[in-house]
Amino acid sequence: MRAMKAAPYLLSTPALLLFGAIVVVPLAMTVALSFHDWGQYKGIEPVSILKNWHEVFTDSYFLEMFWRTFRIALLVTLLTAVLGVPEAYILNRMRSPWRGIFLLVILGPLLISVVARTLGWALLFGGSSGIVNKALMSMGVISSPLPFMFTETGMVVALAHVLMPYMVLAVWAALQRLDPQIENAAVALGAGPFTVVRRIVLPQIMPGILSGGVIVFALAASAFATPAIIGGRRLKVASTLAYDEFLNTLNWPLGAAVAVLLLLALIAIVVASSRLVEKRYAQVFG
């Protein structure tokens, strides 16, 4: 019997060791690194000081970066919800084979690198040589190229495009759990199509929308490739800022402080919103 009890732990040991080696240890080292000192000529000094944290919290430059990061993440979340929820609803109402085909169209982009997808946006709107800009200018619709590269708008649009599948999938999963007769039940009681969506469907898929929102928010706030391509070094967010500190300024401790702060802020936001969702919908959906 003792052996039986130990078996699950023994069986999960390899995975635990791997998890510890590639996640926990580097994370702990990054946290430790954020307390070290750094100087232009002396390099990294393994001491424990609050200099980096003090800098991150007092310098308005960092505040601006973090504020921009969360503003972009929030707008991306709203945009994916506004576009993704109707998309999932329509998808769910399609008949086969169309449903399968369009599900593939929605999920297909996940098979393509984020870099490739973001570069696509750059090709379409990148300054005066972007294809769409060129076309619109030659048609006389616009006189100067639409500002897209190095703008927050561009970053929001590209991130929303990249992260849309996650929202659609979360909402679609919630729609799948709906009683297939529930809309008919509402219609039979006299509800019009708009009322059915607003009063019957939306409240029931709200947990799905919110969990999709949490996923999209977390991914948008920590995204690196898309902000790096669209924003470059001109328009930085928290993740590209940490990257810059590590690889360009070579101030690893400061970069570590930025990265750890981003991680903590994200954990706080994700845990708080999940709690809120669970509490709000516990007695209704369980």
């Binding site: 529930i182 008919n184 039940a185 039979a188 006299g190 509800a191 409240p203 209704v284």
Partner: protein, 307 residues
Amino acid sequence: MAFLALEGLTRKFGTHLAVDGLSLGVEKGEFVALLGPSGCGKTTTLQMIAGFVEPTSGAIALDGRDLLAVKPAKRGLGIVFQSYALFPHMTVAENVAFGLEMQGVATAERTRRVAETLELVGLGTFAARYPRQMSGGQQQRVALARALVIRPQILLLDEPLSNLDAKLREEMQIELRQIQRSVGTTTILVTHDQGEAMALSDRIAVMNHGKVEQFAPPHEAYERPATPFVASFLGKTNLVGGTTVRPEKISFAASGLAGRVKTRIFQGNHWLYQVDTPSGLVTVIRQNSGETMPGEGETVHLAWGTT
């Protein structure tokens, strides 16, 4: 013209004829069951009345008006779905009030009618609960209350009791019948359960392959089945020497068709026999009156009156 008249109702799904020229007249206040095996078109018929499925051809008239010209949301029919389809994010009272709200009934009147209807189905104290906090039988009552509160011209029941266990189903059958009697709403029940159809309805429409094989009161359909299908679907039957005989009409006698008891099953209030005879296997049901009954392997003689 009947209160609800279905005339030549046909529905094709691709090349499959789900409902094939069905005509049926339901009188006001009547309880009618559409009975048949799965795929016989009974649910499609119900959905055409409700407006969720459009007929390929044919007509439906309710109280002399063309029902097909009315949008599903405006038909004002009460429907109880097989899955109940309650709104999980609303309390019982909100579920029941939804239809009244859609009709624009004033709040005070709405509250009064919701309370009244919940009382009718025996759920007066459950108004503030959410559906998932209730048992299957209670959810079923909420669904019934939600359908009845709008005072529908017709109540449509789509296999309403099939998700309940046997004991609860029997209780609900009695209750459903009493409620329907007291409210007097014309009711159409779709079911594959012949016992349920016979227990509840004034008339049964036995359906097969999209057509009505017989439309008659339960007793008549059982005693004088119009087609072999009706005979076999409504209760058990034996085909002995070209005539159909109900198992409970056969008795053990001193003389008659000789046979050997193949199996004997005790079912509490009755015995179920399979008797091997020269004209095939015959099913016999005998009431349990406490007497000793022939055992397996014994030779018996079967007799029945001619009808």
